[in-house]
Amino acid sequence: MEKILTRFWGDISNLPESRKIALMYWTVAIALFGAQLLFGLIAAYQYINPDFLYTVMPFNITRMLHINAMVVWLLMGFIGGIYWLLPDETGRDVVGAKLGRIAFYLLTGAVAVVVLVYILVQMGKGNFFTMWFINEGREYIEAPRWADIGIVAVMGIIYYNVLATVLKAKKITGLLGVLLIDLIALAGLYVAGMFFTPNITYDQFWWWWVVHLWVEATWEVLVGVLMGWALMHVLGTPRRIIEGWLYLEVLLVFGTGILGLGHHYYWIGTPEYWLGIGGFFSSLEPIPLVAMIVHAVYDAGVHKLQTVNRPALFFIFLQAFGNFFGAGVWGFMHTLPQINLYSHGTQMAASHGHLAFFGAYVATNLVLMYIALQHIRAPHGPILDSKTWKIAYVGMIVSMVGMVGALLVAGFAQTFFERAIGGATWQDYIMSQMHPWVKIPMYWRLGFGILFFIFYFVLVYDMLTIGKKKVEAVEVKPA
């Protein structure tokens, strides 16, 4: 393992164990990022040529792999982030390094088995064996039950590691306090998705507890912690300011996001009061994201953009703006029930999902990874910089905006033709899908998707090479 990590990341002999574990998670995360894109491309191509892999790997399987790879790699990235900042925040190495490594291998092994079963077995008969060992068929949390239990156990180990390290260090920072509470909520919520019920209203009610309260509440707070720590390290923002902002963000994220859950309870059989509660609170959900932008831009302005880590700084900007536009603006567009009645379950949601996950979560992970790269390869300066990260950065943003724009056009047209003019039936669906305004954007989406995949390789190349070459001495301006 050490050899592999050294090869990918550089000389890690001086790193504390906690940070080595972080690099292990990130290595797998980046590989799964590639897998996510690959299956996404296949799914996107199936929209255009439905016969492609029709009998071998139908759309539901490629799409399942696309979204599951995403959830897992983002989560692994976050875990890596936690292990990376832990020694820094507590002033000591992680307590259970060996346990942490075992948990890593367990999780990676479980993910590998689940993916192999998805690819080779794909589906089972309608019985509990399938639920336990093949797939549970609930979007995003399709993983079979045995893997669910494994995931919670692994999260338990990670939680123990954070808590035990904090206790042993006898030091708790505001960042760690928020992290400890948020992780309990994050792991606890996953349990809400681990049962079978024939009542589809109950099913989707609890399913959204996992999906929404993860991505629109606990993940947002986790990202607040990671980005707060990143701002301290990339720009040198004082801890007092970071922690003050973090608390404000927690107030706003949980204050709007917990009852904002109601925007998933409009049409699943749940009572009418959710229309009002969900509509009101979810339309306030962009507010914390504005606060995060103000925070990042203000800090960067105060420091006149001077940093020792240019890619990390720019991915911080991407995170702030991407989160605001993707999660905030794109979410707001279809969050009121009066619009959602027609746009629910159309490509509008796909457009929102792509930009939100990219902005809020992909960018966060890349910020943390670039901070690690600088720490390993250029700890004493000069600044970490290269040409290729800029190409990857601009390329990924352009191709993501292209995909999101295409899906948005398709989503608007689908909403209008299938749901407003049409009667939302099977044939209305087909007619709207064949409409040029839905059909042509699917080609754009594939094109920009291929472009994104290319820039992913540029990104990986940059991560492998940045800071390795000795650059000529430039004036170092520490933050």
Binding site: Y47, D51, T55, P58, F59, N60, M64, M123, G124, G126, N127, T130, M131, N135, E136, G137, R138, E139, E142, G174, F196, P198, N199, I200, T201, Y202, D203, Q204, F205, W207, G244, Y247, L248, V250, L251, F254, G255, I258, L261, W267, G269, T270, P271, Y273, G276, I277, F281, L341, G345, R419, G422, G423, A424, T425, W426, Q427, D428, Y429, M431, S432
Partner: protein, 226 residues
């Protein structure tokens, strides 16, 4: 007093503001501790509100409730009509009977069928192409009111050489690749007859759930004329 969305919204915001103000009194608003206390109060109040609403929602949506009916509704005719009082489309159940597969199911038998149907739907990852109650993927049509879809009677009965809608649905589910009506075909998911019947029962039952009017004016299309 009837508690609705507005009361919940105003109460949670008011409590957050007031309790937060009490707990942070005398503190400078630039002090991180000020916001820490507000964060704790705000999160706790919203979470408590969610728990209370969850109990209320679960009670109102259990199987056999007004919103999520008993599985025996599969013995009745199900329709979807505009309710002028509510301002949205609502399922209309019965009163006339409309047996499924020519059989009257007891509560127990119907429940068994629904459980089986749900297991089949999950085992084939239907949600990763279709949407159910609008949730899932967008590669195939929404199934919320699929039972009421006019295409079964207008096209699929003849295409599958069936006598009834449910027979056509079963044949289609067992061999979707054979009865495709479009280039984007549903794959053959190895669904046997027993499983297909359970799925049909599930779709009929699901069409009877009150979804607050989603999808709007289902089946009343200006786009499609059979």
């Amino acid at each position: 007093m009837k508690v609705g969305w507005l009361e919940v919204t105003v109460a949670t915001l008011f409590l957050t503001l007031v309790l937060g103000a009490v707990w942070t009194r005398g503190r400078n608003w630039l002090d991180p501790e000020f916001w820490k206390r507000y964060a704790i109060i705000g999160s706790a109040i919203m979470f408590i509100a969610l728990i209370i609403l969850t109990f209320d929602t679960l009670a109102k949506t259990k199987i056999g409730s007004d919103r999520v009916p008993s599985p025996t509704v599969i013995n009745y005719k199900i329709d979807y009509k505009y309710d002028p009082e509510k301002g949205y489309f609502k399922p209309v159940i019965g009163p006339e009977k409309e047996l499924l597969f020519g059989k009257e199911y007891s509560e127990e038998e119907a429940m068994e069928l629904i459980v089986k149907g749900k297991l089949v739907i999950q085992s084939r990852a239907c949600m990763d192409c279709h949407t159910l109650l609008g949730n899932g993927a967008y590669y195939a049509p929404d199934l919320t009111k699929a039972w009421l879809d006019p295409k079964w009677e207008k096209v699929m009965i003849a295409a599958t050489q069936s006598k009834t809608k449910e027979e056509a649905m079963v044949k289609f589910l067992m061999h979707p690749d054979k009865y495709a009506t479009w280039t984007r075909r549903m794959p053959n998911l190895d669904i046997d007859e027993e499983e297909a019947k359970a799925v049909v029962a599930y779709l009929k039952w699901m069409a009877a759930i009150n979804t607050n009017g989603f999808p709007d004016h289902f089946g009343e299309s200006k786009l499609v004329k059979f």
